[in-house]
Symmetry: D2
Subunit: 295 residues, 4 copies
Amino acid sequence: MENNHDNWGRWGDDDERGSLNLLTPERVLAATRACTTGKVYSLSLPIQEQGVPIFDYRGAPRRYSLTSASDHDPYAEFGAAPGVGSNEDMLVFASHSITHMDALSHVYTQDGIYNGFPRDEFSTQGGAGHCDIRVTGTFAGRGVLLDLPRHQGVEWLEPGHAITRAELDACADAQGTEVRAGDVLLVRTGWLDLFAQGTEEFRQPGLGVDAVSFVDDHEIAAVGADNAAIECIPFDDDVFLAVHIELLVKRGVTLMEHLKLSELAADGCHEFLFCVGALPVTGAAGSPINPVAIG
Amino acid sequence: MENNHDNWGRWGDDDERGSLNLLTPERVLAATRACTTGKVYSLSLPIQEQGVPIFDYRGAPRRYSLTSASDHDPYAEFGAAPGVGSNEDMLVFASHSITHMDALSHVYTQDGIYNGFPRDEFSTQGGAGHCDIRVTGTFAGRGVLLDLPRHQGVEWLEPGHAITRAELDACADAQGTEVRAGDVLLVRTGWLDLFAQGTEEFRQPGLGVDAVSFVDDHEIAAVGADNAAIECIPFDDDVFLAVHIELLVKRGVTLMEHLKLSELAADGCHEFLFCVGALPVTGAAGSPINPVAIG
Amino acid sequence: MENNHDNWGRWGDDDERGSLNLLTPERVLAATRACTTGKVYSLSLPIQEQGVPIFDYRGAPRRYSLTSASDHDPYAEFGAAPGVGSNEDMLVFASHSITHMDALSHVYTQDGIYNGFPRDEFSTQGGAGHCDIRVTGTFAGRGVLLDLPRHQGVEWLEPGHAITRAELDACADAQGTEVRAGDVLLVRTGWLDLFAQGTEEFRQPGLGVDAVSFVDDHEIAAVGADNAAIECIPFDDDVFLAVHIELLVKRGVTLMEHLKLSELAADGCHEFLFCVGALPVTGAAGSPINPVAIG
Amino acid sequence: MENNHDNWGRWGDDDERGSLNLLTPERVLAATRACTTGKVYSLSLPIQEQGVPIFDYRGAPRRYSLTSASDHDPYAEFGAAPGVGSNEDMLVFASHSITHMDALSHVYTQDGIYNGFPRDEFSTQGGAGHCDIRVTGTFAGRGVLLDLPRHQGVEWLEPGHAITRAELDACADAQGTEVRAGDVLLVRTGWLDLFAQGTEEFRQPGLGVDAVSFVDDHEIAAVGADNAAIECIPFDDDVFLAVHIELLVKRGVTLMEHLKLSELAADGCHEFLFCVGALPVTGAAGSPINPVAIG
């Protein structure tokens, strides 16, 4: 079963960070030199109940008011001046809502999660026993955007299309984008633009299994995309979560989904500093994120 | 009413970003050159029910399991191989839980929120009508850390201590830290270290009103601290939320609280690139954050 | 303003119970004598995410696991034997989810809620200042079911149909059901049966304004129905919440919606003891309920 | 292993109702004749964040506002008159919060839950596979109150006290209360009165294992008490959940905790009709309840 769990044990038997180990301080420092404009991009869709992609079983994210001016001078007892108070909210949402990061504990197979930690370790009260989102949620590095629809001269790739290694190579070449070890690879499929048209179609373009070698050969640290699951849906070869299993489970590659890449694309900004700080929720298998790109 | 609402109207009557307007692309680009080590710091405490500072009315943040391997082959109907599935969570917490950012709609006075938007605009269903967290949640800039306990040779400043302008000046001088226009100012009081000792005391060291002129004179873009409210508690001059009113409401200065600054301090890292992406929750008056510093 | 707010002041200026004042102990005791079979009926639909009527803005009710056997011997530290533990849940739902009771604070008009309490008294932190669900949530009395579809020989009344006073009279007569002062009136429209067919139609049969005199003349203590709002939708005379305003606001008549009346109807059980205990949530404007009928 | 699982199989191998099978229509009908005053009692404590007994891991129950008059004429688009709208809430609480009912799936041992259903059947997404709260949540019967503190001439039984069979017998005799097959047994320990004094003590008086024979011999259908767990804490014989295992798991006896019994006690009302309708949440292992007693 050689090469079956490509990175299991590569960074030690107790490693929980997977390919983020590739993000050495030297590479991060070099990544800061990728900035040329100083323009700051938010890569997250808004978190709201409507107009954004939501899976039924996760439920729509909700904001409730916790305090407001309807609470008549609530702090008067603390000596607050009349009319002074605060607005606050309660937030209720799934860890994998809208724009989010998968922790390495997110997907399990018969053999367990990344690096062989037990598949049934995720408990009701405690959540992840290993590889929770705290371990991989914070990182920075050189980001590269492969804008496939632009390269292929379409608005979006066809729903269901399985992106190949050759397509990624061709796009990088055409863009003149050099992909380096430790890079954060962002793949634009255009799917969010199709979604914005009001499509009800669930099928999505995304990486096929063939594209995994691109991640291997370039020693990619993390992968993000503007679709629901990085990979194409229906899944490549009809293998459920085929690319998640290859990247997240076998290689420990952190994945980020539903990234808003349209502004980077519009500016033709293909190389940038990528920074992300997921919410470090103890035990969680993921988190909503708002990554920052600096052009 | 001169100088009463210092920045109201400064960036236009409909401005909702306040002092973040100071963060021009040029300044952001310059900030990337502040990095010298490439070391990445997470400035957030873990989000969990115990061992972190929590206010009763906000409730402890909660993680619940949404899916797990206890759901027996839940995706079999989609052709999933036996034993394949996903772990996911539900997250329930206050927008101002633990390490968080205040949106400019967070505090209101009789005169309204920042820039004069109505004080009762924050509604039950919609939340903030102006200045929600989406507007100010994403930014990057040069970060400077003023490590007051280190400068003063103590573990933490005394609970209740109101930090003065002179103390900030002296600390910056002693550190050799030049503070520049558009900087993100992080103030370490040591309070989280006192909290970690298990203190039940609610009194906290923090900025006094006297220190506000430091923010003005240096054209600070945003302020963060390791305490609950940036400012000292009990409030300076017994004015409820005195420094919030000066900075957040009058000047539109974004505030970040309960930042974990101990690692930066331990490394003596006083200048760095600061990046933050709050969750862009439509209508919210704040968000948990996990800012990233790159040394 | 004669007759404009029919019951305001009737039971005192500070009354918060409205027509439940009609449920004297004598009437309750008499109601227990209505039982003839001892068969117990649950009048609530199941609380679940699918297959039940849910309004988008309220969200689907959710159950999350709080503890389970996936928590490996969680009580071992308390001396629990191996394998012993508990299953518990977290429940997240709107107060007006599925089968529910409206508190008298639920609907407000320009003039306020029932009995003239202020319309803006319901605050973010505290909820209802008067007439929360604790005040009216617990009662028992003689229940009568008017089974309109059965009487009219149809499966369900037409969506949008406004039930008239004459229809209620005719149904009661045909059933041989005497309606008495203090009765809890349950009206079956058949709408839940239509819903069970998978209709996507939102229009519903229900009481029209004309039927309100039936409640007045019979001194009804509370009204329930198997539809979403007691009243017909679109609202009678195109007045938004017309019947809620007449019954709940002006008369203080407690309303219960989405009651499961099919079993009572199938048994021809038209007179019974009706008991309900809403959740006594401090400040809430309503509660899910599971009323009990004893035939 | 004779008599080891006393009621497993008694009502069939697929029975999920346990001792509620004892509540035949004849017994329910007879129970309605127990009423003599028509006074209606709510047996639930208020559901709120403070002043009521709450376990940390369950969290305080929370009410948030969902709609209110702060939403400026939210229904204007539907033709609502100015100033008309609705107040609604979101409710977030544990199934076993404050006054609640245990479903028969609540406690598991190495051998499973009641009637031998698997101990690990309770899944993250679906909850209880058998014996969820829908199956046992709705019932009515003759209620009897054994008011132990009154009988023993104390305000409350001592914290930690294990109530014996002899104490129950003596109390029933002294009260002149005949206990009959199918009765709902409510035991008052006085603990809630001690709690109301502000005690921080977690030890509680409650049933000891010795008292279980009282339930057996009288063929009790369900048991309620005013303490946290029916049974005494610390657990009798230091067996974790000893009485839960005897009653809930082995015998399928429905349990109800934190009942507010003080009003019944004050009136000397020891026999009554008992009605309860738990929230029929699909998959839940329990529910908050507000049982109704009619004197």
